[in-house]
Symmetry: C2
Subunit: 201 residues, 2 copies
């Protein structure tokens, strides 16, 4: 009885790792069980089916991915420090969960409708405050005219892309793992400048 929560937590932790690494289709229930160091039948005892276990993991992953970003977007910060904070948040998240962004991107494209349902259920909303902030900056003439949606997508895209494109970057620019990590560190400082400059008047 006291083991209930622990086992369930162990399973979820293992499932998260395997699913995020391999995706739904690539993951094996046996592998999840091995990772959680429990018997395979326990997975079904706690979550009934692979699909149900996956949906739990996927929903948790969305909850992990979006709100943290939206929180920063809607925070009470000036534009420049907000961009800096946003970029930093992404890179921290990536350090803890290297497969999270690619996992979400892959799976949400496999079942777009289901994904939209999930997002609605988690109560994620348009970053209204940030949109207002951008509009205000544009009116006070420090920022050139740009669709706020473009600005948000560009900022997130610039943060995420080098993380999901790692093998490509390492290959094209002939980096090893250390050099890639060093490149990311440099980028953390450089990227906010790039973004701010892009919308300066």
């Amino acid at each position: 009885m006291s083991e209930e929560l622990q086992t369930e937590e162990q399973i979820l932790e293992a499932a998260k790792q395997i699913f995020q690494e391999q995706g739904f289709a690539g993951a094996r229930m046996q592998e999840i069980a091995d990772e959680a160091d429990i018997n395979k039948s326990m997975l079904h005892y706690y979550f009934r089916s692979k699909d149900k276990l996956f949906q739990k993991v996927f929903q948790d992953s969305i909850r992990q991915f979006f709100p943290e970003i939206l929180k920063v977007l809607n925070a009470d910060l000036a534009l420049v420090p907000k961009i800096e904070k946003l970029v930093e948040t992404y890179y921290d998240m990536f350090k803890k969960h290297p497969h999270l962004p690619r996992f979400v991107i892959h799976e949400m494209n496999q079942h777009p409708e289901r994904f939209k349902e999930f997002v609605k259920n988690t109560g994620i909303e348009i970053p209204e405050l940030f949109v207002k902030q951008i509009r205000a900056e544009m009116e006070s003439s420090t920022m050139r005219k740009i669709d706020p949606r473009e600005f948000i997508i560009n900022t997130i895209g610039l943060s995420v892309f080098p993380l999901i494109a790692r093998p490509m970057i390492e290959t094209v620019f002939e980096m090893n793992d250390d050099q890639y990590q060093h490149f990311l560190e440099q980028r953390k400082k450089e990227l906010p400048k790039f973004i701010i400059n892009a919308v300066k008047k």
Copy 2:
């Protein structure tokens, strides 16, 4: 005999579609056979195994994805029209092959070493000419100092991200498919400005 090439081509075309849509793990040989409108055993007759068929498709996809971009990067064009051309190339590619970018990203992360091998075999190289061009622009003081690798990654990332993040964009900004397509059209014009502005002095 005269049917050999045609059948092989049919298989590859079908395999490309299914693999790019579902990934290696999610794809089924039966589904590829159905799509190609041939018998399932023909897949093995022509390509021996699922893995061999996949590797052919993956390599072809890389050949489809990279050289076209690198060709533009190394073309004899001034910076601004080059960026415009690059963005346009990406969006055209996406119209013809909507799943290509996400497919390459997902699969190259599943087997990074194999991916690096493939890239080397296809003879893809660092876009040296473009790097030189950026360096020249920086020295002639029209462009602020920036690591050319950052500039390249940013440009490609900004082009690719809204394509692979479509369900997210449609959800967060409450767009339907038409509105998304319209958004992309607008973006095709806006993005080069964003990029150029970002590196202006």
